[in-house]
């Protein structure tokens, strides 16, 4: 039993990060129909900026805040310079543009910083906590709590504020949203900023556990993308469930079956879910207009 608890705890921690990356995918997808493969790079940038600001002597909270703001700015730049000019391009082209952006960001990071792995100290020490016979790092609690806080905050934002509803309206029907006077360009910019900031925050939370380096983004983007698809693209609830599910499945496979095939299990489940439900777990049933 303590074994199972241990796997579940580590699965939920990793899953919370996947959920945040998937949420980033979801927000941008809703606003612009683009799947942003540079999402993993936002997580990497959040970690890297914090590391270097912290090493330059800033206190950790300030370093993290700066990192999140800087990453959000990069997200906005990505939208203005690459996504807006390519409006209406086919899916394959958009995939290549964002993958190109991720390669570019990786390259620039490697030049501006270095190729080493980095970390900064955990927020509340490294002494493990005992929970029902399983051990857990305090930082894991930070990750899980952070993810929850973001999901609750976003839910409030989307349901209780005018701007949030404008974003939802744009996601629902872009032209109709424009007709009622919503500035959809602003909504897109906001979505990229928000999504980059969430990614960066995930990076800040998880770096003390998993370390950060210029090339950690690819794996995260793939897992986050898979989690978002598992839950159903465009659905924040789906992102949360998909991310947590993916993290737990991976941890259980690594624990009970084979650690080499933990990534395989995730993809097998995704294939199985997509075969049975081509729109993912919570995806909308779509009908083609002819």
């Amino acid at each position: 039993m303590p074994e199972l608890m241990q796997f579940l705890l580590s699965g939920v921690t990793v899953g919370a990060v996947y959920a945040l990356v998937a949420l980033g995918f979801t927000i941008i997808y809703n606003a612009s129909d683009v799947v942003n493969f540079a999402q993993g790079e936002f997580v990497m940038l959040g970690g890297m900026f914090t590391v270097f600001a912290f090493e330059a002597g800033l206190p950790l909270p300030l370093a993290a805040l700066l990192a999140i703001i800087a990453t959000a700015a990069i997200g906005v730049a990505l939208n203005k310079l690459a996504i807006e000019p390519a409006r209406g391009a086919p899916v394959v082209s958009l995939i290549i543009i964002t993958i190109g952006a991720s390669i570019l960001i990786r390259g620039l990071t490697q030049i501006a910083f270095d190729k080493q792995l980095h970390r900064f100290p955990a927020f509340s020490g490294d002494a493990p906590i005992q929970i029902v016979g399983a051990t857990m790092l305090p930082q894991s609690l930070w990750v899980i709590a952070g993810a929850l806080a973001i999901f609750v905050g976003l839910w409030l934002f989307f349901t209780r504020t005018l701007t949030g509803r404008a974003v939802l309206a744009t996601a629902n029907n872009r032209i109709a949203a424009q007709l009622v006077g919503i500035n959809t360009k602003y909504v897109m910019t906001l979505s990229f900023a928000l999504s980059a900031a969430i990614g960066a925050l995930a990076g800040v939370l998880v770096t003390p556990i998993t370390l950060t380096g210029y090339d950690i983004g690819i794996a995260l983007a793939l897992k986050g993308f898979a989690a978002a698809m598992l839950g159903g693209m465009g659905n924040p609830k789906g992102a949360l469930v998909g991310g947590l599910l993916l993290g737990v499945i991976e941890a259980l496979t690594a624990g009970y079956l084979s650690s080499q095939y933990k990534d395989a299990a995730a993809f097998v489940i995704i294939l199985a879910v997509l075969f049975a439900m081509p729109q993912g777990l919570f995806g909308r049933q779509s009908t083609d207009r002819v």
Partner: protein
Amino acid sequence: MRLSSKTTTLLALAALIALAPLFFPSSYYFRVGSLIFVNGLAVTGLVVLTGYAGQISLGHAGFVGIGAYACALAPVHLGLNPIAAAVVGAALSGGIAWLVGRPILRLKGYYLAVASLGFGALVSMVLANEAQVTGGPDGMTVPDPGLRALLKSAGLDLSNSAFWYAFSGIVLVIGAWLALNLYHSPTGRALRALHGSEVAARTVGVDVAGFKLRAFVISAFYASLSGSLLALQNKFITPDVAGYMHSIELVTMTVLGGAGSVLGAICGAMILTTLPQVLTVFQEYEQVMLGLVMMLVMIFMRDGLLPSLSRKIRGRGK
């Protein structure tokens, strides 16, 4: 006499392959050339899948891996000649594509992308983890098929790199010829019809699922043969050929050059294969340049390099 665009494309390609060696200062260029042809072959398959039928695959390196490892494994375990092994690998890839394609191709757009990505990831994981069979991440050696020795005994003595340049060049021209023929065949028309609109294609009686599957299997054949060629000329193979990055590279080459045209896609293969070789001088900036090229071409030339350029030139002529 006016030549059809198919004939001109093939002649241009063949002439380019045959004449380029006149300007090669060293055998290194033969090596880069044959790499271009190997990638060009896989990319030609993707033209059928993406350019003709409009389907995305982010997992085709999986088939490249199957083809490559067939050439390494079949000679050891089945005692086959490596060339025969390549054929077996292609058949296996086609079979797997047929099995996997049925459920996967029901998905659309990004869902298809993630499903094919998952398939590719599974193949590369199996190749990397089943070390007792595949040698794991260290890779394994591939036996020589003995073709060069055969040519030598027939009186034609080519250097190793020149031989593989010629061999992969010939395979590429044949592959391009078949793909161009397909374009004007009933199958090609059906594929283009379902690319335009699946509903419309279905209304006029096109078996949409069946034709998509056909395109997927054909592109798997091409990818598999490209993997075999790579394995044979390198005489060594690692699981990296089946990796996610290789899938992305293949799709990028296809779309960068112009997914709708065979020649364009091969141009894309040429650019993305030579770019890293040229950029080794600025090793630090290799990724930056690659990322920029991908973004700029896709933003400013949506149909890909070759179709956009040729339209511009033709537009000026009028």
